[in-house]
């Protein structure tokens, strides 16, 4: 059949063993893209959705109209959060490799996407993260300790052991519960924003998903509802080029930006250098102002690269060149911000080393504290009876009965294992 076939199959620039090739990535020079007023008509954002908003140039200088003009303090704060995110990721990744947690997802190479956005938004703005936005949590001051307890499903887990690792949430910090189902948070964020508008609040909502997830219906519904009701929401597509093993071309990225979907449906679109802390901060601020002022939603495509494996269940060397990231044209977001601070004379190697040491030892202490609340293998352990709570607000009769059945089952088992001397089920 194939020979005659006229089906187009998206091309993948480089597979294992081949030379990395990023010629397909359309780049603009730093400072080259204009920054329109926040009330710009959607039509006039068509080119913004094709070009690439960049602020940091090759020499680490901030140039052009999108320079957010942040203070050194803020920049150092950004560097700190991005480093914290990376170190947290590395440590938790190793922890999973040691079998102490069941699963982990790193955001290596994408730290600016989350950290810069969180810093550009107000604390009262509601965030709807994907599983690769841990930077949002850390930048909003979520203690790594709390996140570690979730990863361990231990007695201090905010999810009471119900969620896979990395599916954090924090109602207090306005960080929505992460779902294992891709893209579902997108229309929810729009609904949240519609409610804010209905009430007349000035808070905005922001949501994130990967470029692969834009294929899901929820992405379409989100854009449409945001357009129809002019919802105060920022819809972020994190284009890290890969969806597990699937190249972004299979999500529609061939010769077309994801940001272009915005103007297509009738909301503003911005294509942004996702590894440029300043560009992400500036674009997010612009979209937030636009939303707050009642001019509606913005779709932001953040062009970045998934430098690591999809998750601890994945091995990217099976489907892409090992040295891909070294050739990625937009570099490393942490390194680029560090360099900018150095260029400004606001940072140096000593301070950098000191920061690393401080963060490392803090994380080490956090982990020590976290495991004290239990791990998969060592107690203390959450009471399995918790399994039946929160299905409904009140425990219904049939779940009360099942809870008793489980108790009987575990008693029987304890008896049995006591005899056979096998206590592997733990406490």
């Amino acid at each position: 059949m194939s020979p005659a076939s006229r089906l187009h199959v998206p091309t993948v620039p480089a597979r294992p063993g081949q030379k990395p090739d990023f010629s397909y990535v359309h780049l603009s020079d730093a400072g080259a893209v204009p920054r329109p007023p926040i009330d710009v008509p959607v039509r006039d954002t068509v080119s913004l959705a094709e070009e690439l908003v960049r602020v940091l140039d090759g020499e680490g200088r901030a140039v052009g109209p999108w320079d957010p003009g942040l203070t050194p303090e803020v920049l150092r704060g950004g560097l700190r959060h991005m480093l914290l995110t990376r170190l947290f990721d590395d440590r938790m990744h190793r922890t999973q490799r040691q079998g102490r947690i069941t699963f982990y997802v790193r955001s290596y190479g994408e730290e600016a996407v989350s950290v810069a956005a969180a810093m550009a938004l107000r604390d009262s703005d509601m965030l709807f993260p994907s599983y690769r936005n841990q930077g949002l949590f850390l930048a909003r001051g979520m203690p790594p300790f709390e996140m570690m307890c979730q990863l361990l499903s231990n007695t201090a887990d905010m999810c009471k052991g119900r969620q896979l690792p990395v599916m954090y949430h924090s109602a207090r910090r306005r960080l929505f519960s992460i779902s294992g189902n891709l893209a579902t948070q997108f229309p929810q964020a729009v609904g949240w924003a519609m409610a804010a508008a209905i009430r007349g609040d000035t808070d905005v909502a922001a949501a994130w998903l990967g470029e692969g997830s834009t294929a899901e219906a929820d992405f379409h519904h989100a854009l449409l509802f945001a357009k129809v009701y002019r919802a105060p929401v920022i819809l972020n597509v994190v284009n890290n080029q890969w969806a597990i093993s699937t190249f972004q071309g299979f999500a529609g990225g061939e010769q077309r930006s994801f940001a272009a979907r915005g103007p297509g449906v009738g909301i503003a679109g911005l294509r942004v250098d996702g590894n440029d802390f300043l560009a992400v901060h500036a674009a997010t601020s612009w979209a937030a102002e636009r939303a707050r002022a009642g001019h509606g939603a913005t779709l932001i495509e953040l062009v970045t690269y998934r430098a690591g494996a999809h998750s601890t269940s994945d091995d990217p060397s099976r489907y892409r060149p090992r040295d891909d990231f070294e050739h990625w044209p937009l570099g490393d977001p942490v390194e680029r911000l560090r360099r900018h601070l150095v260029t400004l004379g606001e940072w140096d190697d000593q301070r950098h080393a000191a920061l690393l040491a401080e963060l490392e030892s803090a994380l080490a202490a956090d982990w020590k504290a976290a495991v004290r609340h239990g791990t998969l293998t060592e107690g203390p352990r959450l009471d399995p009876a918790l399994m039946f709570e929160d299905v409904f607000r009140e425990l219904p009769e049939h779940l009360r009965r099942q809870r008793e059945e489980l108790a009987a089952e575990r008693a029987a088992l304890a008896g049995a294992t006591a005899e056979s001397g096998d206590a592997s089920r733990g406490p």
Binding site: G191, A205, F225, V228, F392
Partner: protein, 338 residues
């Protein structure tokens, strides 16, 4: 007391809640200016504004997704899905998100969303305007599932659903919107005025979720049913002269199995009737649960009467619909078991 049909009773429930709770909003396809294809939201937008009674795009998945987000931001959305046959595009948002948000976040987030949708056949709607998909929601942990059989219950249950902090799938048997229906399409239509349950208080009242109702007392057998079939079963029992107790389930989740099982244990015989396709329908769960609790009291096998295991065919509506003939044959057989 005012007399209302089911459409008016449901409309009144939303009117009352929009009035007393500023966080209640109504959304759906054609529900606003137009008042809904079955007129259930008639007049609500005029009264409460286009910001609390919203016309939406034709995207059931988007409607539920947005409703979840609204509810997380402090509103109590009442979403209408125009026909239960069109709820499937929203199935992922309902099953993966609405039903499990409270659980996965340990109650830090929850979604008090009510989804209203007309269900059932008998209106010549063919395969895509006649379905009763309650079973595929009752199986999902975290959803409450309701189906009223008369105006009084409809209003009281809808108010309870809207006030409930858990998500509720609220099925409205459209064949009985305007009057009770005993299953005979050739009889002149009856209105709700004559019916005691057509008396509906104008104001706020609740019918609690999770309680079945014994709508006819009897000692010879128990008929467990809900929705339109309640009226069909009442008529069948009466015509056969069988002293059957008829239990209106009203709420599939949480299920009032105690009331149901107590009745079956008393009568020793049980017939389950619903309009949905039989195989894997909610009747299966009823039969299994009843059997587990009443085994030793059963004098005959528990019988099921339901729609056939086919789509709902336009031309054979009355051969598909589990009307009086089917119920009577089953009830007769049930009583004949020595």
């Amino acid at each position: 007391m005012p007399r209302m049909n089911m459409v008016q009773a449901l409309n009144s429930a939303m009117d009352v809640m929009l009035e007393r709770d500023p966080t209640v909003v109504v959304l759906g396809e054609d529900v606003g200016y137009f008042g809904g294809v079955f007129r259930v939201t008639e007049g609500l937008q005029r009264k409460y504004g286009s910001h609390r009674v919203l016309d939406t795009p034709i995207a059931e998945g988007g409607i539920v997704g947005a409703a979840i987000g609204m509810s997380v931001n402090g509103l109590r959305p009442v979403a209408e899905i125009q026909f239960a046959d069109y709820i499937y595009p929203a199935y992922d948002q309902i099953v993966s998100e609405l039903a499990r948000l409270r659980y996965r976040s340990a109650s830090d987030f929850f979604a008090p969303v009510t989804i209203r949708t007309p269900c059932g056949g008998g209106i010549r709607g063919g395969q895509t305007h006649s379905q009763s998909p309650e079973a595929i929601f009752a199986h999902v942990s975290g959803l409450k599932v309701v189906m009223p059989s008369n105006p009084y219950d409809a209003k009281g249950l809808l108010i309870s659903a809207i006030e409930d902090d858990d998500p509720v799938i609220f099925f409205e048997p459209k064949r009985i919107y305007n009057g009770p229906f005993d299953g005979d399409p050739n009889k002149p239509a009856v209105a709700w005025d004559a019916h005691p349950a057509g008396e509906v208080p104008a104001g706020h009242y609740r019918v609690p979720l999770g309680r079945a109702a014994i709508v006819r007392e009897g000692s010879a057998a128990t008929i467990v049913t809900y929705g339109t079939m309640v009226h069909v079963c009442l008529a069948a029992a009466a015509e056969l002269g069988v002293d059957a107790e008829v239990v209106d389930v009203r709420c599939m989740v949480p299920l009032d199995i105690d009331t149901i099982a107590a009745s079956v244990s008393r009568t020793g015989r049980c017939l389950i009737a619903h309009e949905a396709t039989r195989f894997g329908g909610f009747g299966a769960e009823l039969s299994a649960s009843i059997q587990e609790r009443c085994f030793w009291d059963l004098e005959a096998p528990i019988a099921r009467v339901a729609g056939w295991d086919t789509p709902y065919p336009h031309a054979f509506e009355w051969e598909y619909f589990p009307g009086k003939p089917r119920v009577k044959l089953a009830l007769q057989a049930l009583m004949e078991v020595a």
